[in-house]
């Protein structure tokens, strides 16, 4: 965002210092974490020299790699399923106005504001009630559900920005509903779909609370594993995994942003 410096409201004393303080508040802990991940010392909070050895240790740890694989499997599957559902929902909501459309629109994005621990408990109870054995599948199902609103919003925004006449033009030029969708709507919607998918992927990758509740034996994901490690004590290893996850997250959010801006 750009602040208009010619606006006198923005020219008061101390604005620069306040800005720096704000950013420090936001990002200093993360910077510290990244720096300490290169700490040679076994005790994470005492600096004794630069080293990349902890990254080696992380990559060599079978438990961590298993958790990372779980995380990727869950995130990928949940993303695909959630994006598919979100795309259909967005198309359905955009196609016709109907009574109660606003209500349904609200219901789709409601999971964004429901306290996560409530969703977690509810999901766990539901699985137990229907006798679904906890494992990787339950994690994937739970993730799919809370990823849908994140995938839905960018797709819906993209659809809303599209000229309605484009679909009519396709139909006018002899394209059947399916042809119009495949040749016109889908290509134009694609950046929104990719953007939504990447957002969903990140949300799934980072999730702890719900996963912690519904993961069964052998379904430990990376955030849950890190939580387990931290209970024993903060080690440079934890810092190294966290840094790696951070990089993946930033990468995906950036990509999602760039793709979302494509052909606007």
């Amino acid at each position: 965002m750009r602040v208009d410096v010619s606006n006198p409201l923005w020219r008061f004393r101390g604005i620069r210092a306040a800005t720096w303080l704000f950013f420090a508040y936001l990002y200093l802990p993360i910077v510290v974490l990244i720096v300490l991940s290169f700490n040679e010392n076994r005790l994470a909070t005492i600096w004794s020299g630069f080293s990349t050895q902890w990254y080696g240790v992380v990559l060599g740890n079978d438990d961590i790699m298993r958790a990372a694989t779980n995380s990727l499997v869950v995130a990928t599957t949940a993303t695909l399923a959630a994006t598919f559902a979100a795309t259909l929902a967005a198309l359905g909501m955009a196609k016709t106005r109907f009574i109660g459309a606003d209500g349904i629109s609200g219901l789709i994005v409601l999971p964004l504001v429901v306290p996560e621990v409530v969703t977690a408990v509810a999901t766990l109870l539901f699985f137990i009630l229907i006798g679904f054995r906890l494992g990787l599948t339950t994690v994937i199902v739970a993730h799919t559900v809370f990823c849908i609103p994140f995938a839905y919003l960018p797709i819906r925004a993209r659809l809303e920005g599209m000229d309605k006449a484009l679909g009519e033009a396709a139909a006018d030029l002899y394209a059947s509903d399916w042809q119009a969708f495949r040749r016109v709507t889908l290509p134009l919607l694609w950046p929104g779909i990719l953007s939504g998918a990447m957002l969903a992927f990140i949300i799934s990758l980072d999730d702890f609370v719900i996963t912690y509740f519904v993961a069964g034996a052998g379904a430990t994901t990376l955030p849950v594993y890190i939580f387990g490690m931290i209970r024993i004590g903060i080690t440079p290893e934890v810092n190294a995994i966290s840094s790696l996850m951070l990089i993946v997250s930033i990468l995906f959010v950036t990509l999602s942003f760039l793709v979302g801006r494509m052909r606007r």
Partner: protein
């Protein structure tokens, strides 16, 4: 007899229901002939775009039927109608090139690649955009996008081309050029054009015939000269060009009819404006400003006082007030020697020939 290109019978379209219901079209019937440049003219909200969308198949009628060359169209989706549309926003596909846009309809119809390519060349030449096939629509100016939209809609040789206010986004100069261009395209392709506009000048200059619409109904259909010179309704006379309205009562004496006007004067009416009528019947008469003549105070005619004189180069407009306070406008061409040297406040007479008087139905 030749079958009409489009025939609408008792078309109605209602949006919403109950108290919120909007009757966009109310029992509209019309016939559009083959190879005709037909215009639907009216203010916004008069139902002209709804009528166009019903013909295109983007909306289904609440009642009535539409026929294309005698075949029932009602119920068919847009992609099953040999009718193409030029949209107000052009609606070019931004992810396709100009060439792919123009070829889109033919591709959907399953025409071979060779034919499509030849046709794209031909259509781009027709709209004078040779060499633009590989550009993206976003790289073109508004006028060029307009031409691509035309080429795309004409490429599959539709039986009827629908145009939804296609010139409204262009500036005045470009609009004039495109008016001539559209007329040329229509003559060259021989395709029936149905054109929607709220611009009366556009409608008069381009159309073979036009329909004037208001509140979901067609008020009058006719050639531009007929509509302009013989408007049948007050709305038509008022919407198209400038008009003076005179109120009065008819007096019939033998073969001739005379209107006694509210301003005290008399106007003799010719056959069209006079008959059939009965004594004492109230009438509204319309007179175009250029059909009335100003004469000196001593001459025959309606008494009037000059309010303002506006010199406009090719002609001069006199804003007059009749004796009962009715405003009346006279426009006269500035031919050599024909200019009257009249100042504001002068008493004059207004002379109106019987042929210049048009009797209105409301």
């Amino acid at each position: 007899m030749e079958r009409p290109a489009i025939e609408a019978r008792g078309l109605s379209k209602t949006f919403g229901s109950g108290l919120d219901a909007v009757h966009a079209l109310d029992d509209v019937s019309l016939t559009i002939r083959q190879n005709e440049f037909f215009t639907l003219l009216g203010p916004s909200g008069c139902g002209k775009t709804t009528l166009l969308r019903l013909i295109g198949g983007f909306e289904q009628p609440s009642g009535g039927d539409i026929f294309l060359e005698g075949q029932q169209l009602t119920g068919l989706p847009p992609f099953k109608r040999p009718i193409n549309t030029v949209f107000q926003s052009y609606a070019l596909f931004p992810h396709l090139t100009v060439g792919q846009n123009v070829a889109f309809g033919l591709e959907m119809l399953g025409r071979p690649k060779k034919e499509r390519e030849a046709r794209v060349e031909q259509m781009l030449a027709l709209v004078k955009l040779q060499g633009y096939a590989n550009r993206r629509p976003t790289q073109l100016s508004g006028g060029q996008q307009q031409r691509v939209a035309l080429a795309r809609a004409l490429a599959s040789q539709p039986k009827v081309l629908l145009l939804d206010e296609p010139l409204s986004a262009l500036d005045l100069k470009l609009r004039k050029e495109m008016q001539i261009e559209l007329k040329r395209l229509q003559t060259e392709t021989g395709i029936t054009f149905v054109f929607v506009t709220h611009d009366q000048e556009e409608a008069l200059t381009m159309s073979d015939r036009l329909a004037v619409m208001e509140s979901g109904q067609i008020l009058q259909i006719g050639a531009p000269t007929e509509i302009y010179e013989h408007p049948q309704r007050r709305f038509v006379a008022d919407f198209i060009g400038e008009t003076n309205f005179l109120e009065g009562r008819i007096e019939v004496a033998g073969d001739t009819a005379v209107a006694h006007l509210a301003c005290g004067g008399k106007l003799s009416l010719n056959g069209q404006a006079g008959a059939p009528s009965s004594n004492g019947e109230a009438v509204t008469l319309a007179v175009r400003p250029e059909r009335a003549v100003i004469a000196p105070a001593g001459a025959e005619g309606l008494s009037a006082r000059i309010g303002a004189v506006v010199y406009m180069g090719t002609d001069t407009t006199y804003h007059l007030t009749l004796t009962d306070g009715t405003a009346f406008i006279v426009r006269s061409q500035n031919n050599e020697g024909a200019r009257l040297d009249l100042a504001s406040g002068a008493e004059v007479k207004v002379q109106i020939a019987p042929a210049a008087v048009q009797r209105l139905a409301d």
